[in-house]
């Protein structure tokens, strides 16, 4: 028997067998459908999770943009009008009078005094409105540069943390933080100058008894 004859016999014999593939085909189709449903379920869950994370991130950013930077923008604009452009305002220059004015608004006299121990000298103060809220606006001087410090007792506004955060608003440098009692915003015309004063201020204000 030659190879070809042998191959032909084997091939003919095996290929003549009846094969029922329907059961395997049905099982494969069923498994594929199950896995597709499974994958679809996971895809929906993953998409929902991503959407939730994006929504949370967007809400947080919106919240941050609404709460803190807008306050800094208002403070920087106030600093530019009243300090840089020198628009006429009535200021108090006596420390006791300023402390008394601040105390009426809930800013402790000790806070104003403490800021004076940081190497910055208090020059004048007055009340002003930032974002429809009353702030004690203090002007400090160091090396010929004027710094605005805006203080307000902590009420029911959304907290933005005890660490000093720095933002640039136009030409002004702004930094802000909160203590257990106060919200403080610092503004200066030089880059990082407000942040340097804010860090020194944070150290002394956070050390005050609450």
């Amino acid at each position: 028997m030659t190879d070809d004859e042998l191959d032909q016999r084997v091939r003919a014999s095996i290929l003549s067998e009846e094969l029922d593939t329907s059961r395997v085909a049905a099982a494969v189709r069923s498994q594929i459908q199950t896995q597709r449903r499974h994958v679809r379920g996971w895809a929906v869950a993953a998409a929902a999770l991503i959407a939730m994370v994006l929504a949370a991130g967007f809400s947080y950013r919106t919240f941050r943009r609404e709460q803190t930077p807008q306050l800094c923008v208002a403070a920087a604009q106030d600093h530019e009008r009243e300090i840089v452009n020198g628009e006429p305002r009535q200021w108090l220059s006596d420390l006791t009078a300023i402390q008394s004015l601040g105390a009426k608004q809930g800013v402790p006299a000790s806070a104003i005094a403490a800021l004076g121990t940081t190497g910055y000298s208090l020059e004048r103060g007055r009340l002003c409105f930032l974002k429809k809220q009353i702030y004690l606006h203090l002007v400090y001087v160091k090396d010929g540069t004027e710094y605005s410090v805006f203080l307000r007792p902590l009420t029911n506004e959304a907290p933005f943390g005890h660490s000093v955060r720095e933002v640039s608003v136009g030409a002004e440098d702004s930094a802000y933080f909160q203590t257990t009692r106060l919200t403080a915003v610092f503004v200066a015309g030089h880059s990082h100058a407000a942040a340097a004063f804010a860090r020194a201020g944070a150290r002394v204000l956070q050390g005050l008894p609450s």
Binding site: D7, R9, V10, L15, T21
Partner: protein, 148 residues
């Protein structure tokens, strides 16, 4: 579902039970579906499927620490001729039977079979040659019997 019959035909001669053969083919098709991105368009889909099946088969055999080397009890040929061939085929070693099924029954070239089984082509050729020789020897007495 393309090539299902060919896969099942070979699987039934690799595994001891028809149910195992169906499981093997089912797993092969599912792996092919999951890994379809790995298939290169324009290449031999049939060879690709067989390669998957033999990978699954050898993986199972390794896990179970045995290779079914016995004649398949799952094949029930209807004719005397087919019964004799099935018996002779079952007497071959698994390696020889595999090469013979791929090259002789399924029509793969030795090069394609070598690719499917991940073997050198020389090994495939020598296994095929030995398989034919043993099959010829097994079938010879039966042929004599038939002509007596």
């Amino acid at each position: 579902m393309p090539h299902l019959a060919a896969l099942l035909r070979v699987a039934r001669r690799l595994t001891p039970e028809p149910a195992s053969a169906e499981d093997l083919v089912q797993e092969t098709m599912l792996l092919a579906w999951r890994g379809f991105r790995g298939f290169q368009t324009g290449t031999n889909a049939r060879a690709w499927l067989f390669r998957i099946m033999f990978n699954v088969f050898h993986g199972q055999a390794r896990r179970e620490l045995r290779v079914p080397d016995l004649p398949s009890r799952g094949v029930r040929p209807m004719l005397q001729e087919a019964a004799e061939i099935a018996e002779a085929l079952g007497a071959l070693s698994l390696e020889q039977r595999t090469v013979l099924l791929l090259c002789v029954v399924e029509g793969f070239t030795c090069r394609e079979a070598a690719g499917i089984l991940d073997l050198p082509m020389g090994t495939v050729m020598s296994r095929l040659s030995r398989a034919r020789q043993e099959l010829r020897e097994s079938l010879a007495p039966m042929a004599k019997e038939a002509y007596r």
